[in-house]
Subunit: 279 residues, 2 copies
């Protein structure tokens, strides 16, 4: 496997924030010896170099021409814009992947604009409510699920994708391969719904005088997440999210109607069993 991995010599990370910066730090910590380029604003590049997440800055054109792996770690809307720019500048040997939280719209754009076999969608199930390379860390992906959504099943067999898979394992993540539609449905429940539940809770509590304990803090922490990332996610996965919100509202209505009945115990047991599974 080592010989395979050595083929990846130049990695370019577009968007050197929390996820992109952590990817650079994790690659280095896992033994990556090649060059790591960063594509971002001058101030972000400076910070990312300072933290050791990248070696130097580059333009998208230079990076796309030279990179073995082009890693798009930006908000969904920016990822879509970059994919549309790539046909003119992408080098022949480059594999492009991204970290966007919605995959179908990105995979569709890649299918339309990029050469077959040059793109695989990605979504590391890592992150936190704080952002920027200052919050990045080499262990952000450790123990986390890393979803890959190939455009065609055979893309997984591609040597460059196998290289990427090997590095995903080396940085401590567990890869899961699935279709983009299935991914989007599952994250609507498992990731987008928790965000909106937390935001809605905090917004509700902000409208009245409350007495809060530690529980309010832990359940509303996610509401600190940056909106400019979520704007794109909500707009590009609206249908599955609507379904997830409806299921959640129905559950809350069921609880509201059963505050004094035994039926509520079942919901607590179900919820506790699920939460224990995530521990």
């Amino acid at each position: 496997m080592a010989s395979l991995v050595e083929r990846m010599q130049v990695v370019a990370i577009a968007g050197t924030g929390l996820i992109g910066g952590s990817f650079g730090l994790a690659l280095r910590a896992a033994g990556f010896q090649g060059e790591i380029l960063g594509i971002s604003s001058p101030s972000s590049i400076e910070k990312a170099i300072h933290h050791g997440a990248i070696d130097r800055g580059a333009t998208l054109a230079e990076a796309a021409g030279r990179a073995d792996l082009l890693y798009l770690a930006q908000p969904v809307g920016r990822i879509l814009a970059v994919i549309r720019e790539l046909p003119r500048i992408l080098g022949e040997r480059a594999l492009v992947t991204d970290v966007g939280s919605t995959k179908q719209i990105i995979v569709d754009a890649a299918r339309k604009y990029l050469p077959p076999g040059s793109f695989i969608g990605g979504h590391p199930m890592a992150g936190k409510e704080s952002r920027g390379v200052d919050n990045a860390g080499k262990d952000l992906f450790r123990g986390r699920t890393y979803v890959l959504t190939p455009l065609r099943p055979e893309d997984i067999e591609d040597a460059r994708v196998q290289d990427l898979l090997e590095w995903i394992r080396r940085i401590g993540a567990r890869e899961v391969i699935m279709g983009s539609e299935e991914h989007d449905y599952r994250v609507a429940y498992g990731s987008h719904l928790p965000q909106l539940a937390s935001t809605a809770l905090a917004a509700t509590l902000s409208q009245t005088e409350t007495l809060t304990g530690p529980g309010a803090r832990s359940t509303t922490r996610l509401a600190l997440s940056a909106f400019d990332i979520w704007r794109d996610i909500l707009a590009t996965n609206a249908e599955p999210i609507t379904e997830a919100l409806t299921a959640y509202i129905q559950e809350l209505e069921h609880i509201r109607e059963n505050l004094r009945t035994r039926a509520i115990e079942e919901e607590f047991e179900r919820g506790a069993a699920f939460a224990r599974g995530l521990e």
Copy 2:
């Protein structure tokens, strides 16, 4: 103030779990020199002694007869049952307080069964989803709000209540005095709603295949809370909780209808501002 506080020589804690055990540990750490009795099952008493939270076990009758402070740290239903037992056994100098998450029903029971001036409702806004004296700690109350709900305004001036207040400050909590009705309304939003939001979220996610990240974990952790404590809370504060759930459901519906509009940004900003305030 020291002379006041020294009047409190015997503290009896009924229910030596997370809150009761932590109160004993916190008193000791804050310099309490008197005796700490525990009222609980033999196995809980043994564990509480082992952790240093109490000195020895006692029957409710002995404890109520001897204690300067009788601290009821049980589920709401048990607190109500104990209050009904106290008229036959409570010593003349004892001040009774409790830690129940709903106050109006408890204050009403105290008004009915106990001598005027012998009871003040309490609610430390501390706790966690894990329970038992094994999870107790001397710092559980540090930096937390500690609500006191007097039956009559003048009860606050009582020397025994002033002693209790001094110890509440010494264990690092901040007292807040308010009426039981206002308390129950405010905790319905600030404490009971976050619990139900988390339980409902976990119960919803348990019903489908999901891809979860760190956000799902932080927002569903509260769903691990023990139901036997929450059964009593939900049953005794059902009206304010119903109102809070309705406000939350309306907020979620508003978000669901605005996933692709600018209105969603305002909810994120409002939510983030609230969450920042709890940091």
